[in-house]
Amino acid sequence: MSMGRRNDLSDIVLKATLYLVAWAALILLLAPTLIVLIVSFTDSYSLRFPPQGFSTRWYVALLKAFTLHFAAWNSFLVASMTTLLCVVMGTAASLAIARSTSKTARCLDALFMSPLILPGLAFGLSALIFFSELGVPVSMTTLVIGHTVVCVPYVIRTTSSALMQLPPTLLESAASLGSSRAHALRRITLPLIAPGIAAGAFIAFMSSFDNTAVSLFLRDARTDMLPIRMWQDLESKLDVTIAALSSVLVIVTLVMMIVMEKLTGISRRIRG
C-alpha cells in the first residue's frame, strides 16, 4: 500500500527475527517435557539422550520405589488439606475484600497477597523458629499451616476476579425480590463464582504439591515431601527412576489441566 520498498525490507527482517525468537522460545518451553518423557523409556542406567534402547524397566522400578510412594502420599495429603483450608478461608476473605473499597479491605488484600513476593525460604525458616519456640514438633499439621499461608493468595486472586466480574444487578434484583443476603449468597453468588474458586483451588493444590521452600524447613523423615525427596535423590545420584516418576507427574498434570481448562478456563484465570 503506502509502504515503500525500504519499509518492506525492514518489515521482513523484523518479522523474521521476531518469529525466529518466538520459535526458539516455544522449543525451549516444550523440549524439557518431551525429553523427560523420552528418556524415561531408556533401557540403560544412564540419562544419555537420545536413549540407545527402549524399555519400561524404570516404570517397573518406580512401582517398587517405596520411599517415593511414601513421599508422594504425604505430599498428596498435605496438598489436599492445604487446599481445603485455602478454599474455605480464601473464599470467605475474598467475599469480604474483593468489591470493598474501604482502607481496611485494601490493607487485608495486600497482606493476603504478600506471601507471593516474599522469599518462601525466609518464611519457611521463620515458621520453623515459631513452632520450635512454641515447643510444637514439625508434623503434617505444621506443613499444612505453612503451605496454607503461601497457597491462599492463588484462591483469593481467582475468586476475587470472579467476584469482580459478577454483575451487581443480579444481587440487586435478588434483594429487591425479598431474598435475604445469606440466601442470595448461597443461590446466586457462590454458584456463579464457583469456577473461579475451583481454578484457585487447583492452582493452590498444585503449588502445595510442588512446594519446596516451606517444606524444606517444616518436614522431617516421617513427613517426607515428594519434591524434596526427588531433589535430594537427584543431588546424590542421577537415578532414571526419577525420570519415570517425572513422566508420570507430567502426564497427570497435563490431564488435570485439560480437565480444568474445560471446566473453568484455567489458562484465562491464571493470566488474571
Binding site: R6, N7, T212, L216, I270
Partner: protein, 285 residues
C-alpha cells in the same frame, strides 16, 4: 429500606476474619520472631546484640552472595524478556486455534513441578546430554563440554523455568494494544523497526515491567534449579540461608541474612512496581 441502601455486592469484612487471624498468628508473628532472633549474638539465642548484622556488613560474604543472586535475577530476566516478548508478539498474531494450543504450552510449565522441569535440564546439559551429543555428532567439538554446573547453563535453565511468568503479562498488554496505532505509524512513513521501537515497545511497557517483576522475584527466591544445574560451586541467597539454618544451626545469622534478603527483594519489587505505575501513565497518554 435503609438496610438495603448499602451496596448488596459488598460483603461484611467479618468474612475476612478467619484468614486475618490465621495470618496474624502464622505469618506476621513468625516474621516478627525472625527479627527478634536475628538480634542475638550467639547461636543459643540468649545474648541480645547486633553482631549478626555487623558480620553481614563487615565480612562482605553475605553481601557478595546477595549481589550475585540479584545479578543472576537480572541476567535471567533479560533473557526471558527477549524470548517472551517475541513469543507474546507471535501469539497475538496467531489464529484463535493456534492461540489455544500456544496458551496450553505456555501455562503447562507453571503447573508442572519445578524439580521435573529442572531434571530435564540435567539431561539436556549433561556430558552425554543432547547438546553435547549434537555438537560431537556434527564434529563441532572433540570432547564433551562442561555445560552442567556452568553459569550459562544455569541461566538458560532458569529462563526456561520462569519464561511463562514473563510471557503471560506481555500477551495481556500486547492484546490490548491498538493495531491501528502501528498502522498509522507505518502510513506516516515510519519503517517497521521504527514503529516497533517507538510505538509497540513503549506501549507495552506495563507488561514488560509486570513480567520482569514476576520473573525477577521468582528467580532470586528459587533454589531447586540453582542447586541441581548450578551445582555446589555457586552459592545464592536461598541456599546460603538454608545452609546456615540447617547444617550449621546458626539461627540468628540465618535470620539476619533472611531479613537482609527480604528487604532487598521488597526494595526491588517496590522499585519495579513504581516504574510500572509510571509506565501505565505513560502508555495511556
Amino acid at each position: 429500606m435503609s438496610a438495603r441502601n448499602h451496596d448488596v455486592t459488598v460483603y461484611s469484612l467479618r468474612y475476612g476474619l478467619p484468614l486475618a487471624a490465621f495470618f496474624v498468628l502464622f505469618f506476621i508473628t513468625p516474621l516478627l520472631l525472625l527479627v527478634l532472633v536475628s538480634l542475638h549474638d550467639d547461636t543459643a539465642v540468649s545474648v541480645w546484640g547486633v553482631a549478626q548484622y555487623a558480620k553481614i556488613f563487615g565480612e562482605g560474604l553475605a553481601l557478595r552472595v546477595l549481589g550475585d543472586t540479584l545479578w543472576l535475577g537480572v541476567q535471567v530476566t533479560v533473557l526471558c524478556l527477549g524470548l517472551g516478548y517475541a513469543l507474546a508478539w507471535a501469539y497475538v498474531r496467531s489464529s484463535p486455534t493456534t492461540q489455544k494450543v500456544l496458551m496450553m504450552i505456555i501455562v503447562m510449565p507453571l503447573l508442572t513441578s519445578v524439580v521435573v522441569r529442572t531434571f530435564a535440564w540435567v539431561v539436556i546439559l549433561g556430558r552425554q546430554g543432547i547438546v553435547n551429543e549434537l555438537l560431537l555428532g556434527w564434529a563441532w567439538i572433540d570432547k564433551p563440554l562442561r555445560l552442567l554446573y556452568s553459569r550459562e547453563g544455569l541461566i538458560w535453565a532458569l529462563a526456561n523455568v520462569q519464561l511463562p511468568l514473563m510471557t503471560l503479562p506481555l500477551i495481556t498488554t500486547l492484546q490490548r494494544l491498538e493495531s491501528n496505532l502501528e498502522d498509522a505509524s507505518a502510513a506516516l512513513g515510519a519503517n517497521a523497526w521504527r514503529t516497533f521501537r517507538r510505538i509497540t515497545v513503549p506501549l507495552s511497557l506495563p507488561g514488560i515491567i509486570a513480567g520482569s517483576l514476576l520473573t525477577f522475584s521468582a528467580t532470586i527466591t528459587a533454589f531447586i534449579t540453582q542447586s541441581l544445574v548450578g551445582g555446589g560451586q555457586m552459592l545464592f541467597m536461598p541456599m546460603y540461608i538454608y545452609q546456615q539454618a540447617s547444617s550449621l544451626q546458626n539461627w540468628p545469622y540465618a535470620a539476619a541474612i533472611s531479613l537482609v534478603f527480604l528487604v532487598a527483594v521488597i526494595g526491588c519489587v517496590t522499585l519495579l512496581s513504581y516504574l510500572g505505575r509510571l509506565s501505565k501513565g505513560y502508555a495511556t497518554t
